[in-house]
Symmetry: C2
Subunit: 420 residues, 2 copies
């Protein structure tokens, strides 16, 4: 029986053309983020099932690729449920493993620690166009920095990077989970309902304020609370200085210094951001993960009307590993989306070295072949790319193929040359 040619469901093979682009972007990521003092780390793809199922991952915990116990530990006869069979799984994000890494290695890491991670994650999502079950995530995180210097540096690093790989015109949406909560609390929603309220709020850009209020009504929330929530947004939309308005209106409902904190981030980021970018306060920005504790952000590519990066502050996750909370803030770029856009736009990795093909007729061997290869080695040592290949019968077609792969110089070696 023949073996299976296609990749497993929802996963993909990466061809040389795509890989060249991916390598180029990964290299720019490394260069740019390292200029901000981020250093790269890596965690294993396989993570403890206990860590993956610790309620840090929200909906992603339903999508885990689980790994069977091995050897004597696997007791099929007595297994009553799935979790009796597994001891680990593939990581579904890089944030949970990062916190484990930090808990495990903190003694040897600088404080604050600025981490760059580029690695695959796996989610058994329903297969759909452009979404894969294995995909690269690219995260930067600052651990141990409580002040908004973390947020400022993360936003600037990410926008700088996007600019370096050729994107323009970003809109950085920024909010704070504490303002989200204050708005809900001020309106009279119960704390236990916040997450459900935010699920509806998150639809604002698609269905508008009317739509959000309809959804909240359908969900059976108090009419008074919905009316007050609506009035708050209507009033908010009329304001010039939206953040000051909310700060004043919500007053004591806002935990900590969330509003002033955002103002500082604005002023510092605006002082340095590229002219074609803007940063806006967006109280409808929710971000899915419930682990966020403060600032949250997302970068929209205005031209394409899609989000290409997102993140936020999660000051409580490391404490789950160490028993002691550590401030943490991160930003993740949508690596796969960026690659997809670049490929659709026909972007190619900037030209590398000159590529030469030596085509060697069949029968050229022994000492003569040794000489040809020595010549190729000399050119390679000078930094050139030299392909040594056997000449095909249809040499014209072979050269066309090689030209399509970027070869511009050709040298042919025939048996007859021996006679010269």
């Amino acid at each position: 029986m023949d073996l299976i040619k296609k990749p497993t469901t929802g996963m993909k093979d990466i061809t040389p053309q795509e890989m060249e682009l991916r390598n180029y972007v990964m290299n720019e990521i490394r260069k740019t983020y390292s200029s901000f003092g981020f250093t790269q780390i890596e965690t294993p793809a396989v993570e403890h099932i206990e860590n993956l199922c610790s309620k840090q991952g929200g909906e992603n915990e339903k999508l885990i690729f689980k790994i069977l116990k091995r050897g004597e530990k696997l007791n099929l006869a007595d297994a009553k449920e799935e979790n009796d069979l597994v001891d680990s799984g593939l990581r579904y994000d890089l944030t949970v493993p990062l916190c484990r890494f930090y808990a495990n290695n903190a003694a040897n890491l600088p404080k604050p620690f600025k981490a760059l991670q580029m690695g695959n994650v796996w989610r058994a999502d329903r297969p759909q166009k452009g979404r894969f079950r294995q995909f690269m995530q690219c995260d930067i995180d600052i651990l141990g920095e409580a002040s908004n210097l973390a947020e400022i540096e993360l936003v600037l690093a990410t926008t700088t990077l996007l600019g370096r790989v050729g994107f323009k015109g970003f809109k950085v949406h920024i909010n704070d989970r504490r303002i989200l909560k204050a708005m809900a609390s001020y309106s009279g929603f119960a704390e236990s309902d916040y997450d459900n309220v935010f699920i509806q709020l998150d639809k604002m850009d698609k269905i508008g304020l009317d739509g959000v209020c309809e959804c909240l009504t359908e969900d059976g929330f108090s009419v008074d609370a919905i009316a007050k929530y609506r009035a708050l947004f209507e009033e908010f939309n009329k304001q010039d200085d939206k953040l000051s308005f909310l700060k004043e209106t919500l007053g004591e409902y806002i935990e900590g210094n969330a509003a002033d904190n955002l103002k500082e981030i604005f002023s510092a980021v605006e002082a340095s951001m590229a002219a074609d970018c803007e940063i806006v306060f967006d109280p409808t920005l929710v971000r899915g993960m419930s682990y966020y504790t403060g600032t949250i952000f997302e970068i929209e590519m205005k031209e394409l009307n899609c989000s290409v990066a997102g993140g936020g502050r999660y000051d409580k996750m490391i404490g789950k590993f160490t028993g002691q909370d550590t401030p943490a803030c991160g930003f993740s770029i949508g690596f796969e989306r960026i690659i997809t856009i670049m490929m659709e736009q026909g972007v190619k990795a900037p030209g590398s070295t000159e590529k030469t093909a030596f085509l060697v007729e069949k029968g050229v061997d022994g000492e003569r072949l040794g000489e040809i290869i020595a010549k190729a080695q000399a050119l390679r040592a000078e930094g050139k790319t030299v392909l040594v290949a056997r000449m095909n019968k249809n040499k014209k077609f072979q050269k066309e193929q090689l030209e399509a792969d970027g070869y511009t110089q050709f040298e042919d070696f025939y048996r007859e040359a021996l006679k010269n």
Copy 2:
């Protein structure tokens, strides 16, 4: 309950220091191999269980991390054996996935196709010092090239690479499975016993010819066959031109042109190889995998007396996917071993850019912080690394830590500066 800090059994976290070295080596690999015309591809970490358990992987098939079926496909109540529960697993090497990749994408690939792969593989081996259950493999393969041009280029590419990352004095051991078989056949061993004979032969460098013959005797092989095998090696060891001796002695026992083929590889490789390297014919070289069909090779680092790369020709594997055999030959370097050796030798990745740290006293915020960050951004745009961090109370200690991380320039920013 606290979550688990350590990585899963047998896996490891990679720190920034190690990652820097790994990135440097990976970059040299990409540069060097691409100068030989190799292009990089990637396959998913998750592979069909059918492909992984197809007897291509030998002993590695016992070490697979298997992945549980998901959703309705998982029927725990009716499952009788392990394989009822799983549909996929983590790849244990890059060769099986490469053949699947080639079968799946051949129409869009150049012929011959020169592939570079760098990727993690997983084996649930017994944990031991220096061996991990997730490790990086780095393979080059030439698919669709029947002539020994493939072997020649692979050996030269690999030795060139090892030289570029600072290693010296390699010994390339080379043999051909067909010569191994001819020697066994000539001596009178049955074809079904070859693999067991080769397992003992493989111990030659540790236990010598006497030891190998003792083991064969213990295994119960024919006394005559063992005596003839011993005599063949004794005679062989006396020869100057060992390959010609075997060619003449074994005659028709040798399938195809194995001996002449090796001679050609020698002459072409010797014409180009670095002066401190040697290539030797080694009829005791076995290589574990039974999928090899022709040439096999291994590179020994003489100084360290360990093997750092190995590979061979496997002309029958792609046919398992396509029904049609395609010539294939590959070389894998021991990436993890190379990194371990470099770390033990204290090798550091060549110095990057100048690194500056801006230390900002607490309380410096707003516009002033914006100015400081703008200054950092300007330096980063020039290619410099600038870390902006809050000044610790113990600034002296903080600077020492930063110096240890490679920061050489410091600039301090105090609140008082506002008053100037």
